[in-house]
Amino acid sequence: MLLVAAATAWALPGSAVVAARQYLPGPAAAPAIPPCDRAHSSLRPTGPPRVTPGSFMEQIRDHHRLIAGVSQSTYPFGFFNPRNGNTEGFDIDIVHAIAKAIFGNRNQVEFKAIPDDRRIPEVWSGGVDIVAHTMTINCLRLEKVDFSTVYFQAGAQVLVLKNSRVKRLKDLRGKKVCSTSGSDSLSYIKAAHAIAVPVVNFTDCLVKLQQGDVAAISTDDNILAGLAAQDPWTKIVGRVFTSEPYGLAISKMHPEFVRFVNAVLQQMRTDGQWTADYRRWVGTPAPAPPRARYKD
């Protein structure tokens, strides 16, 4: 115990800098990522959602279904409900709203379960029309795909067992911390000098935590809350130490679809649908929906 305390004290200044660095946009974040303004990154809608002739929305309508890349294991955003066999969640309801805007029927959707590291490849290959998968808008990803406006604001935290003495990420120096491969959580776990344990699904992380294979799980607060809801013997500790704005990912080849989706999101923000979905899946009280910001 003494040794851990000493290590923690020694680690304090360095880790604080590393953690703080995550907030900073621009060159300090990581040299490989080009600087960008991720808050003002999306395209402005041209009025209410409308399927225009020759648009990608019309192609989708001709195929009789919207194909969405989702998670089936990230409660309560996208998950397989074993009681009724349905895919459900906050992300899923947004996809239903887009389907309703295209077809007039919220159920004309094909949910394609994809792992975190397949989100961008599936958009690129055209395997899915849209990705709704707790996906953070960041500068590296903005180089590769287009994002909708922010539909949910998350931030990273740490989940541990109730009897753990860990209070924040830097207490986990040298210990095993679980997250999914292809998520951006792995980079700050490594930056905090913890041992990153990558798995496929966040529920796999919870299995590892319950079996004592890892000391903690670190990812976005809302996902951790979903895991904590499945195991009352866990707790979320420390402050939110990153900013993770979620967007829906769409191919750069279909800007009209980005505008269309932003129009749907705007409707949801104003007609109370977003708040209703938030209350249903995330909890009460619901905050104000994230404001839409556009490039122009």
Binding site: R65, I67, S71, Q72, S73, T74, Y75, F79, F80, N81, P82, R83, N84, G85, N86, E110, F111, K112, A113, I114, P115, R118, V200, N201, T203, D204, L206, V207, L227, Q230, D231
Partner: protein
Amino acid sequence: MPSAAGQAGTAVTAVSHAPRHAGDALPAVGHFVRATTTPARLRLLLIGLVSLCLIWGAVAAWVVSQRASGASDVASTSETLSLDGQQIYRALSDADATAASAFLTAGLSGSLEPINGPLRYQGDIAEAAAHLESATAAAGHSAAAADLATLSADLPVYTGEMQTARADNRLGLPLGAAYLQEASTLMRGTLLPAARNISAEANVRLAGASGRATGLPLALVLLVAAVIVGFALYRAQRWLFRRTHRRLNPGLVVASVAGLVSLLWLGIALGMARADLLQARTHGSTPVAALAQADIAALQARADESLTLIDAQGDDTFQQDFVGVQRRLGPGPGTLLTDAVVAARGSPATGPARVAAATATTWYGVHRTVRSLDDNGKHRQAILLVTGRGPGHAGTLFTRLDGSLTSAILADQAVFHRHAVAGRNAFIGLEVGVIVLALIMAVGCARGLITRLAEYQ
């Protein structure tokens, strides 16, 4: 052993040659034993023949015991272990597939689990545990012991994870799917390979036992010994006849008859046992092993088919595995099913093995439909096609494939058992018999020659 027989043979040959060169001093042997007078030669002949008979008895009894233990191993231990390994595999694989389908059909049938799901799963686990116990008893310190230890250690871990998955599922928690995957990974990565090894090791053991029971070298040793003894008895009687001008020596005649009887008995018993054990191999254990391999591959493919549909993250590991197993399973040249059909030729398993091969082809067709349904977003239809029991459903076809393979295995297992037991029974009384007959031979030789010796006193 052969060198002892050889020495004895040389000694006897030297003695029996002695009368013709009566005057000459026999250089080596003659000098050594100084058998220059008839009584001395008779005495030497007495010792030589009696020891030869006793050596013959020992050699024959040894060969018989080797063969009989091989035959008994074939019929008992190896068979049990091989069968247990395969039953453990089938029970565990079915348990895993049942748990997977229970998860798949949640919500489709209006109940959380198929009515008979938990019962079937528990039955499978109980069956695996029972076979695990009997296999552990049969394995002793063989190579299978380590695999059995792995199974004993990890089976409770597996069932524990499955129970957690089930409890989480009942609470509607997505965590259940993660435990299901975790348990399934343990099953496929550790438990099933161990079960497969047990069968494989048992088959190696079976081949060894069968080789001991049917191999030619031992029979050759026996034949050489018989020729030496027969030749010695023949030359001794001829020499006595020339020397004493009596047509028959009753003692040596009794010894010769006893020798012939033991030789006939040995020949018939060893021949019959060999024929039976070879039958047991060609129409029993060989097709059973091929069919069992095919069945194991089929079970694996079926589990893949179910798991592909559960796999919540849509990576295609299980489908790739299915395609790999399908390639190994066949039918087609060099595949498990075709090999099994070829191996089963001429045995009662031929019919069911052919049905299995034909069913596999139909099943692959349905599987392609399942995949295209699933890939096109018709997840529910895909699940219904996989789990359905109606005509043309993957569930029905797999049941028929598995059922045909199982009945083929049982049919050839029965052939194996019948022949292996017959092969073992051919040795009943033989070991004691050859010993008693060898003693009769020795007593006969002694009596015959002592009577002659008495004439010189």
